[in-house]
């Protein structure tokens, strides 16, 4: 996978993950073009799109569009299911996810994505394992929050 974009029906970008090194200018250009093209498509049309030398696979969930760019030899259907699995993960984590969850907790959405896809390849496809990993990291975060001051002192003495 080359990149993944999440944007709203109004064309606002909600999440972007690039797996190929591109300069900012190029990224902006691609985003603008793709958002326009995808939003212009009608609901009955198929979820695939040939764009430049890439294949775009997109799917709309409520007000959010999930959009992935893959190479020509990649399997479009499985990419569609990657999107779906990601939505399932978000849904399970946030508990009935909505666009606002992603807007306000976009860093969490990124953490989940990084746990699911790494470097553009599916890393862990078991839902349970992904969520376990995230929860572990979150748990640590909770602990840290509860004992913020003493812990950093501890860390300075012992852990680092």
């Amino acid at each position: 996978m080359q990149f993944m974009l999440l944007f709203s029906r109004q064309g606002k970008l909600r999440l972007q993950k690039w797996y190929v090194p591109l300069c900012d200018k190029e990224k902006k250009k691609i985003t603008r073009e793709l958002v326009q093209t995808v939003l212009a498509r009608k609901p009955k049309m198929c979820s695939f799109l040939e764009w430049r030398d890439l294949k775009i696979v997109y799917k709309r969930y409520a007000s959010l569009y999930f959009c992935c760019a893959i190479e020509d030899q990649d399997n479009e259907l499985i990419t569609l299911e990657i999107i779906h699995r990601y939505v399932e993960l978000l849904d399970k984590y946030f508990g009935s996810v909505c666009e606002l969850d992603i807007i306000f907790n976009f860093e969490k959405a990124y953490f989940i994505l990084d746990e699911f896809l790494l470097g553009g390849e599916a890393q862990e496809t078991s839902k349970k394992n992904v969520l376990k990993a995230i929860e572990q990291a979150d748990l640590l975060q909770e602990d840290a929050k509860e004992a913020e001051t003493p812990r950093s002192v501890l860390e300075e003495i012992g852990l680092t």
Partner: protein, 1123 residues
């Protein structure tokens, strides 16, 4: 799923109140997001963000890390909105470094979002990553791995590699999994660096955790794509894994909608199809599991279809098995007939893939295909056209091209236009039923494709017109038709026409307007002159137009003088110069005859690519004190030297400095490359520098050694009998004898008609197969056979040489063009450029071509003699009953006897011939000696060897063609090969053709690999010189290697082992350090600095060439591993 996400912005206020649960929001971010959603205009947003960014700038240096974390999140948000927050990048790195786990997580995330591989700040992250990888805290190690697998600077890979290797055996599977993926990433960006840990990949493949195993498949897919042959032994394991997965042996966790591990299945199916491709025995191992996969995937869900699609592709890729093919074909039917549009798209895609193997499959689905052709969805339409492109033949070409052009007229996407227009041009060239259709279609191509068109489309078209086919009469008809058509176009409104089209038209009119006798030439001149006045015409096109005018201006002095007058004040210097030439030519009819001889064959010109006629001028200039010319790469080299402040001369000469250019140096590389662009005719001379749009072929060449070349009666190439004419009525006839359609009653009559014209020629009855197994209709524009090179210098080879000497690629495009039209059933892309070269005559020509190259090489190495190019068969009449391992030196020519050489290895054999090869190491080249021995008692005739290797350059060859080879004798042929760019391994292929009985040609193909080690030569320098050179080199690589510790002096033993394997020169050994030097043939040097570091050898390599150190390092690792 859609029911899950149904909250909208109306839920906003409620969310803000709830601080618990999933929607926990950091306060400042919440504020920011909230205020942005309340804004109405872009301007307001901009000013708000500006404010936000400046307040962040103030706080950003705060030591409070938890505040920093919050700032980072806001910075990410601003960047996502498209604003620049680059001042926070450095702080993201700092946060990852200094923060506790909580902050680190955000810091690493910010880094992976902000920076990409090449960003210089990333270097600052390396230490943090190293520290975290060694941390006892699993979470820290795991966050570091996550970032390494996403962004990591290529140069620093050696630093983390040992740590990653350790992580492969870490107890926690999540760590192992991430380490595998990080290694995969490294493999993608720097494959040579991870060569030595392939054994560990195998361990990951056998990991007890299915997740780790799945991750390792990414690496294997990549490795197997690159070299399937190396991994055939794993086929059994992959098949077993797939069997277990399909059989539901994995934990239920990995199920996705009740389908066991679909991602894993798809990955395995891909790997299997790569392994089984063109390999019968490997394919047989997987038939059973493929069958089972097809059978198990029954559920009606996207995910099963994804697996089925991959299965079908695999079945059609590997060695075919009838039973499976049948099942797969049925499966495609499910896709194509599905009401779901996504599945239908996949069905079309599968069909497009499958019709290459079996065109008849398209017949079963013709009505669906036609429906898809009229579909409202652009994507579906385009995929359908792609499918139609694959099934085009001479009978349905007009309908299919019409459909494609219809689509193009309504399309605005640049990439699609470029892509499809190229296909239309390709089809038109291959299958055109008649002249008028061809020219009309090409007109459409040029006006639709416009200036986006790939340059080779107009080039091929013009070349086709210029070279002609086998019959002059037919050619002239085609040209005449083109002229008429263009005159009509130009009489209309030409202002909207694309530049490329205008260029094509003006070239054709310039060359062939005289064929049209009923139109006054003055009218043509008037039309072209009109174009010159139009503002929309680019200055490049003006040059084309003016060249055309020059060609048809004969006898129209008054018009031309007017024109030249009006242009002589043009601001464009090129136009002014051309106008001046035009004036001169029109006043001197004798000169005009020389420069633009009418009716001379296009390929009869001798090109003086060395521009020797300028010698006088150059020597005068030099005598007057001008500085001698230096080629650009030499100037570059000098600049580099200046930068490194290395003021003393090197004690040994780098190759470039040897090729100093004097005027006697006629064949210097630069002169060649310059001259090929200017090889002489009025069009090209007036061409602007750097413009790549000129067609070299097919234009009259009139510059020679003595300036303008007078055209004496050159013998026209033999014109062959016209080929069997194409019946224009063939299409209708074929359409009539179409097979009965399935269920004709229910189908709409129009569609049926369309179907009959689209799918004509695909049925079994019409005996046409797309793979060209059965007869094909004669192509419209078959190339005339190339005249024999040896007959005279006025042959096509001459023009080819000019392009060949400047670049290899142009040579190969020439070839693919040439043979492209002969293989009309295949898309042109699959045509290999060299394999079709006719043997003896062209082999001769090849040697001639090499002539120029050879001389060029001679400048650099000063070793190769000019006589190397003469093809001289060395048949040894003395009897050698058994060849392999017999005394090689007895067979070699005297001048090669003393060279170091490898063992003789057998390449291939058949009942008549046996081939073996041996490598001889000459300083400036690798000699690949091929020994051809006749195993029979009888004489073998017309033996010709053809060797191909894309990565290497052949400097010379000897003995590759011989008229006869006596029974039981052996002949030697050898190729001097050069490696300009380092490649770790290169493979070569070749064929030997020979005749045991007259008229019956056999071919024997062979292949082999050469390693970079064959091209490495010792570089003898003193320690002092080494030191100087070291400082001047820029590209370096460091890595720890294995030290051979079993001897008393490990360093010396290790270096000697390397020296034996790689022909390195050990310059000096001082204490625990050793310095070693080598070079790539007589080219780029590479210096190695080795130091004993505990039980390892720390190696530091430097070279002016960026890829050479990696390559040498790889071979060092191998040499030590094998020791």
């Amino acid at each position: 799923m859609s029911d899950v996400v149904e909250k909208t912005l109306s839920a906003l206020p409620g969310l803000f109140d709830s601080q618990t649960g999933a929607a926990r929001i950091t306060s400042r971010l919440r504020q920011l997001v909230k205020s942005i959603t309340e804004l109405t205009s872009k301007n307001e947003e901009e000013s708000l963000i500006k404010q936000e960014l400046s307040s962040m700038k103030e706080q950003v240096s705060s030591p409070n890390t938890s505040m920093m974390r919050e700032i980072m999140v806001r910075a990410m948000y601003c960047e996502m909105l498209g604003y620049d927050a680059s001042f926070t990048y450095i702080h993201a790195i700092k946060l990852a470094q200094q923060g506790g786990v909580l902050e680190k997580r955000v810091g690493y995330l910010a880094v992976s979002l902000f920076l990409n591989e090449g960003h210089e700040l990333l270097l600052l992250l390396v230490n943090t990553v190293l520290k975290d990888l060694q941390s006892t805290n699993v979470i820290e190690a795991y966050m570091a791995l996550t970032v390494v697998a996403q962004v990591f600077p290529k140069d620093m890979i050696p630093a983390v590699l040992p740590l990653l290797e350790d992580k492969l055996s870490y107890p926690k599977e999540i760590i192992r999994r991430k380490a595998v993926l990080a290694l995969y990433k490294f493999y993608l960006i720097a494959p040579n660096q991870v060569q030595h840990i392939h054994a560990k990949f195998r361990k990951a493949l056998c990991d007890r955790d299915p997740g780790v195993m799945t991750s390792s498949l990414h690496i294997y897919l990549q490795l197997i794509t690159e070299s399937p042959d190396d991994y055939k032994d794993l086929t059994g394991s992959f098949v077993t894994i797939l069997k277990q997965v399909v059989g539901g042996k994995l934990p239920v966790d990995f199920n996705y909608h009740n389908v066991p591990a679909p991602w894993l299945q798809i990955q395995l199916l891909r790997i299997l199809s790569l392994l089984g491709k063109e390999d019968r025995s490997t394919s047989e191992l997987m038939y059973e599991v493929l069958d089972e996969s097809l059978r198990r995937a029954e559920m009606n869900h996207n995910i099963t279809y994804a697996i089925l699609y991959e299965c079908v592709k695999a079945i059609y890729t590997i060695h075919p098995k009838a039973e499976l093919l049948e099942k797969a074909a049925r499966c495609i039917g499910n896709f194509v007939l599905s009401p779901k549009i996504n599945l239908r798209y996949l069905g079309l895609k599968a069909l497009t893939y499958v019709v290459q193997h079996d065109a008849k499959l398209a017949l079963q689905h013709q009505m669906t295909i036609i429906e898809c052709l009229d579909h409202t969805d652009f994507t579906i339409k385009r995929e359908t056209l792609e499918l139609l492109f694959r099934i085009t033949n001479a009978q349905n070409v007009t309908v299919i091209v019409e459909k494609m052009l219809d689509f193009l007229h309504g399309c605005s996407d640049e990439h699609t236009i470029i892509h499809l227009v190229g296909k239309v041009a390709e089809l038109a060239e291959k299958f055109a039923p008649d002249n008028s259709w061809f020219i009309q279609t090409m007109n459409d191509v040029f006006s639709t494709g416009g200036d986006l068109l790939q340059q080779d489309v107009p080039n091929n078209f013009l070349r086709l017109l210029a070279e002609g086919s086998e019959s002059k009469e037919e050619d002239d008809q085609l040209r005449l038709y083109a002229v008429n058509s263009y005159l009509t176009v130009l009489k209309g409104d030409a202002s909207h026409l694309p530049q490329r089209f205008l260029q094509v038209m003006s070239w054709v009119l310039g060359e062939y307007a005289h064929l049209q006798e009923s139109v006054d030439q003055r009218e043509v001149i008037r039309l072209l002159t009109q174009l010159l006045d139009q503002r929309s015409v680019s200055s490049e096109t003006r040059v084309w137009i003016l060249s055309a005018l020059t060609k048809i201006s004969e006898g129209q002095t008054d018009l031309i003088l007017d024109l030249a007058e009006s242009l002589s004040s043009s601001q464009d210097t090129v136009l002014r110069q051309q106008a001046q030439e035009l004036r001169q030519l029109s006043q001197d009819s004798q000169l005009y005859e020389w420069v633009l001889p009418r009716g001379a064959p296009w390929d009869s010109m001798e090109v003086d690519s060395s521009l020797s006629f300028l010698d006088g001028f150059v020597s005068e200039a030099l005598a007057a004190g001008a500085a001698p010319y230096k080629p650009p790469h030499q100037r570059q080299e000098e600049l580099c030297e200046d930068r490194a402040l290395n003021l003393e001369p090197y004690s040994f000469s780098l190759p470039v400095s040897l090729s100093s250019c004097s005027i006697t140096d006629r064949q210097s590389p630069t002169l060649l490359s310059v001259s090929s662009g200017l090889s002489g005719n009025s069009t090209e001379l007036s061409q602007k520098a750097g413009s790549s749009t000129l067609i070299l072929e097919g234009v009259k060449r009139v510059w020679g050694r003595d300036g303008y070349l007078r055209q004496n009666e050159t013998t026209a190439p033999p014109v062959d009998e016209p080929s069997a004419a194409v019946q224009p009525s063939g299409q209708q006839e074929a359409a009539e004898r179409l097979e009965p359609q399935p269920e004709p009653s229910t189908q709409n009559q129009d569609k049926l008609q369309l179907a009959s014209s689209l799918f004509v020629g695909l049925g079994a009855g019409s005996s046409m197969s797309l793979l060209g197994k059965s007869e094909a209709p004669p192509p419209r524009f078959r190339k005339k056979p190339r005249p024999h090179e040896s007959s005279s210098s006025s042959s096509s080879g001459t023009s080819e040489r000019s392009s060949d000497s400047s670049s290899r690629s142009s040579h190969s495009t020439t070839d693919s063009f040439l043979y492209g039209s002969l293989l009309e059933e295949e898309p042109a892309t699959s045509i290999s450029a060299f394999s079709h070269t006719p043997k003896s005559s062209t082999a001769n020509g090849l040697a001639q071509n090499k002539d120029t190259k050879e001389d060029r090489r001679a400048n650099t190495s000063q070793i190769l003699g000019g006589d190397m190019v003469i093809v001289r068969p060395n048949t040894f009449q003395d009897k050698h009953p058994s060849l392999v391992s017999s005394d090689l030196t007895a067979l070699l020519p005297a001048d090669l006897k003393d060279l170091p050489h490898s063992d003789v290895i057998s390449l291939t054999s058949d009942p008549s011939l046996s081939l073996s090869s041996c490598r001889l190491f000459r300083d400036e080249a690798l000699l690949l000696v091929i020994l051809i021995s006749n195993c029979t008692e009888t004489v073998i005739k017309d033996v010709a060897v053809q060797l191909t290797c894309e990565e290497l350059e052949t400097a010379s060859l000897r003995g590759n063609v011989m008229n006869c080879l006596e029974g039981n004798s052996t002949s030697v042929c050898h190729y001097a090969l050069l490696m300009d760019e380092p490649h770790t391994n290169v493979s070569f292929t070749g064929t030997v053709s020979y005749q045991t009985q007259p008229g019956h040609t056999n071919t024997l193909s062979f292949s082999g690999t050469l390693s970079a080690a064959d091209f490495i030569r010792p570089l003898v320098v003193s320690t002092e010189e080494y030191g100087k050179l070291w400082l001047s080199l820029s590209h370096d690589v460091k890595q720890n290697l294995k030290l051979l510790t079993d001897a008393s002096d490990p360093l010396r033993t290790t270096l000697n082992a390397l020296k034996d394997a790689l022909q390195l020169h050990v310059v000096d050994i001082i204490g625990s350090e050793g310095i070693v030097a080598c070079r790539l043939l007589s080219g780029a040097p590479c210096l190695l600095h080795c130091r004993v570091n505990g039980a390892a050898l720390a190696m530091w390599l430097r070279s002016p060439h960026p890829a050479l150190p990696d390559c040498i390092l790889y071979h060092c690792q191998r040499a030590l591993a094998q020791h």
